[in-house]
Every structure is written in C-alpha cells, then in structure tokens.
C-alpha cells in the first residue's frame, strides 16, 4: 500500500505528465490546425521549386524545308567559389577541359565573396561530359539554349540572328520574334535535403508552347548560286558593297537575296553593324539608267513615242533646261528602241520633255518607287521620289534618267517584274508559311497583286526593247546561253561631298529577267563603287548572266527529276 506522501508524489507526477502532454498537444493543435499555413509555406519553400520549362524557338526553313535556323542546348559551366576548398587545384583540373589558362580560372574561383561565377558558356558536349566526370565540389553545369544557323553565311541578312537570350535581333528573327519564340511553361520540382530533384511531386504543370516555324520563299540552292556569283564580283571589282535580289516575277516570291559584305550568323557579334545591314532593303541610291525602264514604259503607254521613232542624240552633248547633258558614247540618230538599248541620256530626256513631269511622277509611283515594298524585312525604306511641285528646272533632265530619285535594290527587282509578268506590280514576299513544329500549316501566304501598271501592248514593246539591250546594246555580257534574256544596265554616278557627281565612284547595276518570252526569274544586281571599271554592263551584267544560267539549269534539273519520279510512281 502506498503511503499518503507517495500517493501525493504519484499524483503530482501524473498531473505534471498530463500538463506537459496537454501543453504539447495544445501546441500541436495550434500548429497543425489553427496556424498550419506558415510552416507549410516554409517547408514547401525548402523542398519545392518552380522550374521554368523554356520553349524551343521555332526553326526557319527554306522553301524545300531545309533548316536555315534552329535551336540546340549547350552546356555552360559555373562555380560557387564559397564552396571551393582548393581554387588553385580546381583551376588546374578545369583549364585543359575548358581550354583556358589555369591562372585565369583561379582568379575567377578565388572570389570568395561571390556565390556564382560563369567559368565557360556553351561548351561542347564532350567537354561537358569531362566536367561532369571530374565531380568537382562547387562546380556545376547548366543547359543554355543556343540559336544555330547551319548554313552559316548563306542568307544571313535575310534570316538575321538572335541574341544570347534567344531574342530576335535582326532579319526574320526580329520581324517574326513573337511567333518564333513561343511561351515558357513551368512545373513544380521537389528536392531532397541534398538538393537532388525528386520526381514524385504531382503538382500543377503548364507545358511550354514551342515557337512556330517559318517557311521562307528562298531556295538554298539558288541562294548559294546568287551569293557565289555576287561574292566573285564583289572581290573582283574591289567593291564597297553589293546586293542581289532574285525573284519570281509572277508571284513576287524572293528566291534569293544577298549582300556583300556579309557575316556568319553564328558569329554575328564579331562583325560590325555596317556589315550586318541588309543593304538590299535599307540602302537607297540613285538608280541611273535602269530607271529609264519607267520613263520608256510611261512614254509608250501614253503614246508619245513609238519604238521605231527616230531621235537625234546630238552626238553626245546637249544643252537643255539649264544643264549640259552627256551620253556615255556619242550617238547621232537612234530609234527609240536603240535610245534605251544604247542607254542614251539625251534621247531619253527628249522623250521625257514630251511627257512632262506629271506622267513621269505618276509612273514612278505606279512602279512602286517612293514607298517600301512591304517585303516584311526590318528596316526597309521607300526611297525618295519628289512630286512635280518640288522639281527644279533641270529635274526633267535628271529624274527620267535615274537622278534626283533614290531607290532600293528590292524596288528595282519589283519594278522590272512589272514588265516580266505582263504589267502587274506584285508585292515581294519572303515568308511562305507559318507552321506548327508538327508540320501543320497555321498560316499560308499568297501572292499579292497591287495594281496593273502598264497595258499588255506596252509590256510586249518593253520586252522587245529590253531584249535588244542584252542582245545588241549595253548589256551584252548578260546573254544567257540557250535562252533569250531581257534587262537594263545602269551606271549611276555617286554624289561627292562637294555636291558634284563623281567620275570614279559609281553604283553599277543590272536588272533583268529570263527567259524573255516566258520569264521565270527576275534578277537585280547592284555593285557599289566597283574599281577600276565601273559600268553596270561590265560589272553587274556578268553576275546576272552567271546566276541566270546556273539557276535555270538547277530549275530544269529539278523539273526533270520530278518528271522521272512521277514516271516511277
């Protein structure tokens, strides 16, 4: 039997036990039932993390679905210097793998005040595997997206490039950035005490929406042909710059567009903005004699001249409207056909004087000059076309022969296409389709006919005149073996800082189409400040000839192969 004192002690112990247990249960109730959210939040913060799921940026493809831009992920290496015990030893191990000096790495790893330093960005898979195998404490790797351009310099001005954060900075990458980039998703990621990911958490998840793909109108093979020919001319004539536009005159599809100098889109940061400029759409220049196609077309349409009508070309020198005009070579009597074929400034001016300013201005506008073509490339400008109210007295002698007016290369291609396609102004375009990565077409673009510019009778007359330019006139070096070609040469003198036209600095150009009877290609070539020769007929016409010859052979082979394949099936 317990004594009274013992019973009291037992009662006290039991009471104490009940009190402690009660207090603990109360606290537990307080934590678990009354105020659970605070601690749950802290616990979740410790082992749960929102992981962003980046979208894959859409690819850019050529018309045959050959990739011109794509996305890959590469490994980048970083370190937490606070967790490094031996920076010098770690630097020695990393140096040969990262191809950096040990001293340079040691400096980076010795920043004890920093919790994060990049050691190398976007290294090769082999190097990444070596880094992982080293299992260095305080050194880790992370995957970073990288935009890549498998064709390198090919079509780099068209495709453009995107920056380190895969945001479009130039070309189609910039123009269609919103469509290409997609939208990121996210998911919850549970981590254990060692921060290792545990895949058991079944929380909400938003899948990323990958960017859409662009299918361009350009053909990589034609682009290569155009770039190779342009590059050869650019180097041969030691030019300051050069551009080429190859277009389907019937639909307005740009089959190739290139500029020189150029750059590799994979290493865009190593070149200056001047090199990266898409000169074919951003640079304006006085077109010179190629502009005579506008004057001639308007004159024939208005009926102020006939192709066989004779004009006296004053043997090369003519004083008119307060200006002394010269021809490159002196001519006497020439038919209107030969005025254009021989590119006589005097003959063209005499025709323009019959026309007057208003029809010429309307013609320039109808051919698409003075406004951007709307091709959809960033930075496009419209050039300068003055209304008759702003013309000075000598303007009637300048504008019809391509002075006092500025244009872009793509506008010239669009203008010559009017004659090639039967008299219609078609809008040039570079994007055929916007597709889902699965291949489903989201949006397909169609050719846009802006307006009829000249009647079919004028088209026929102009085709004959422009064929004569190539066969007997100033563009003989543009003759394409096996086909009749049509075109116009241009040698525009550039304006010196003093305000006078330069003798040695010119813009040599050639615009034309082939075959003349049933055109499939329109080509505009411009070469800026070629040396030592500087005429469009010598510098630019051979580029047209080379590109037309090789492209027609390529297209022909494609047709033959398709025919053969159809036969087999």
């Amino acid at each position: 039997m317990l004594t009274a004192a013992q019973k009291t002690r037992v009662a006290l112990v039991i009471m104490g036990f009940i009190l402690v247990t009660g207090a603990l249960l109360s606290r537990l109730f307080w934590l678990q039932v009354l105020h659970p959210s605070h601690w749950v939040t802290i616990a979740r913060r410790q082992h749960l993390q929102v992981l962003e799921l980046p979208p894959t940026r859409g690819a850019i493809l050529d018309r045959n679905l050959k990739p011109l831009a794509g996305s890959i992920r590469l490994t980048s290496v970083f370190a937490d210097p606070r967790h490094l015990k031996n920076p010098a030893g770690t630097a020695r191990l990393l140096a040969p793998v990262l191809k950096k000096s040990a001293a340079e790495l040691e400096v980076l790893l010795s920043h004890q005040d920093r919790g994060f330093v990049w050691l190398a960005r976007r290294i090769s898979n082999q190097s990444a595997a070596q880094i992982r195998a080293l299992r260095l404490s305080g050194v880790d790797v992370v995957m970073e997206p990288q935009r890549v351009y498998p064709q390198g310099v090919l079509a780099s001005h068209l495709v453009g490039f995107s920056g380190v954060d895969t945001q479009g900075l130039e070309g189609l990458e910039l123009a269609y950035d919103r469509i290409l980039k997609g939208e990121p998703g996210w998911r919850w990621l549970a981590r254990d005490a060692r921060r290792r990911p545990v895949g058991t958490w079944e929380g909400p998840m938003v899948t990323p929406r990958d960017g859409l793909e662009l299918v361009m109108t350009i053909d990589t093979a034609i682009q290569f042909i155009a770039e190779r020919a342009l590059d050869q001319a650019f180097q041969k004539w030691r030019a300051k710059g050069a551009s080429i536009v190859v277009m389907n005159p019937m639909t307005g599809e740009i089959l190739a567009l290139a500029n020189r100098p150029t750059f590799d889109a994979n290493q865009y940061e190593q070149t200056s903005a001047d090199v990266r400029r898409n000169r074919a759409v951003t640079d304006t220049f006085e077109p010179g004699s190629v502009f005579k196609i506008v004057t001639a077309s308007v004159a024939l349409t208005k009926g102020v001249v006939r192709p066989e009508e004779n004009f006296y070309c004053e043997n090369g020198t003519y004083q008119v409207a307060g200006r002394l005009l010269h021809d490159y070579r002196p001519h006497g009597w020439l038919t209107f056909r030969d005025v254009i074929a021989q590119s006589s400034n005097i003959g063209t001016t005499k025709v323009a004087l019959r026309l007057g300013p208003a029809p010429i201005y309307e013609g320039m506008q109808a051919f698409g000059f003075g406004v951007p073509t709307g091709v959809g490339l960033p930075g496009e400008v419209g050039g300068k076309v003055k209304p008759p109210s702003q013309w000075s007295r000598p303007s009637i002698t300048c504008i019809p022969i391509g002075q006092e007016v500025t244009v872009t290369s793509i506008q010239l291609a669009q203008a010559i296409s009017v004659i090639a396609n039967g008299g219609y102004l078609v809008k040039p375009w570079v994007v055929r389709e916007i597709r889902h990565p699965s291949g489903a077409v989201v949006k397909a673009f169609k050719p846009i006919v802006v307006r009829r510019v000249i009647p079919s009778e004028t088209v026929q007359q102009m085709r004959e005149i422009l064929t004569a330019v190539v066969e007997t006139g100033s563009g003989k070096l543009a003759v394409v073996d096996g086909f009749r070609a049509a075109g116009k040469t241009g040698t525009a003198q550039k304006v010196e800082p003093s305000g006078v036209y330069s003798i040695s600095r010119t813009m040599a150009s050639f615009v034309g189409f082939v075959p003349a009877e049933n055109p499939v290609l329109t080509i505009a070539v411009t070469v800026d400040e070629p040396q030592p020769l500087h005429t469009g007929g010598v510098v630019s016409a051979p580029v047209f000839q080379q590109v037309a010859t090789e492209t027609l052979a390529y297209l022909r082979q494609g047709e033959l192969l398709k025919t053969a394949q159809n036969e087999i099936q």
């Binding site: 590469l74 549970a190 052979a553």
Partner: protein
C-alpha cells in the same frame, strides 16, 4: 489485452507498409528524374548532331572543301536520269497494279524496260 496487441501489430504493419510505399515512391522519383535528365541529354545530343549534319551538307561548306582540295566542278552539259528496270517495275508494284492492263504493262516494263534519258538544256 490480446486484441490490443493484435491491433497494435496490425497498425504497425500498416504503418510500415505506408512508409515502405513512400520510400518506394521517392526511389522511383529519383529514377524518374534520372531518366528525364537522360532523355533531355539525348535529345540535346540529337539536336547537336542534326545541326552538325546540316552544317556538313551546307553548300558553302561543301564548296569550301572542294576549293581546299582543288576540285573544280562544272554544271553538266546534259543530265542523264537512269532508271533501272527493277526500280521501274518496283515503282509500278507500289502503285498496286490490279487490272490486267497494269499487270501486263508491269511485265512488259520488267522485260523490255530500259534506261530513261533527258537533256538538261539544249546544246
């Protein structure tokens, strides 16, 4: 008392089973994450390899390599498309020749078919 012990034993077994289930869940979770990483790695490698193949097929690179090896290529004066007899017949088979006319044609092509030629451009 016996029932109490049985109840406690059952509760313990159930608790252990629950814990075992959680441990399995975590273990499978680790495996899942490992496989997910592996899949991502392989996809990344695949993308890089595809990019390398595309780069090697680029006409710019091919042209540079031809120049390095001083190989000069010219466009062909004429293109010959040679269609072997067997391939032609196989092509017809793929078209599911059903009628006797097609079958006869297939037989004729197989026995009599020759190469097809086409000119690339007039010379």
């Amino acid at each position: 008392m016996r029932r109490t012990f049985l109840g406690l034993g059952l509760a313990t077994v159930l608790a252990l089973g629950y814990v075992q289930q959680r441990v399995m869940l975590v273990t499978v979770g680790y495996e899942l994450e490992k496989l997910r990483c592996l899949k991502d790695d392989l996809l990344d490698q695949n993308r890089v390899l595809n990019y390398n193949v595309l780069t090697l097929q680029s006409p710019v690179i091919l042209n540079r390599r031809l120049e390095e090896h001083q190989v000069q290529l010219k466009p062909p004066k004429a293109v010959e498309i040679l269609v072997p007899r067997d391939l032609l017949a196989e092509g017809l088979r793929r078209g599911e020749a059903t009628s006797w006319i097609q079958r006869t044609r297939e037989l004729a092509v197989r026995w009599l078919g020759s190469t097809r030629q086409a000119e690339a451009k007039p010379e």
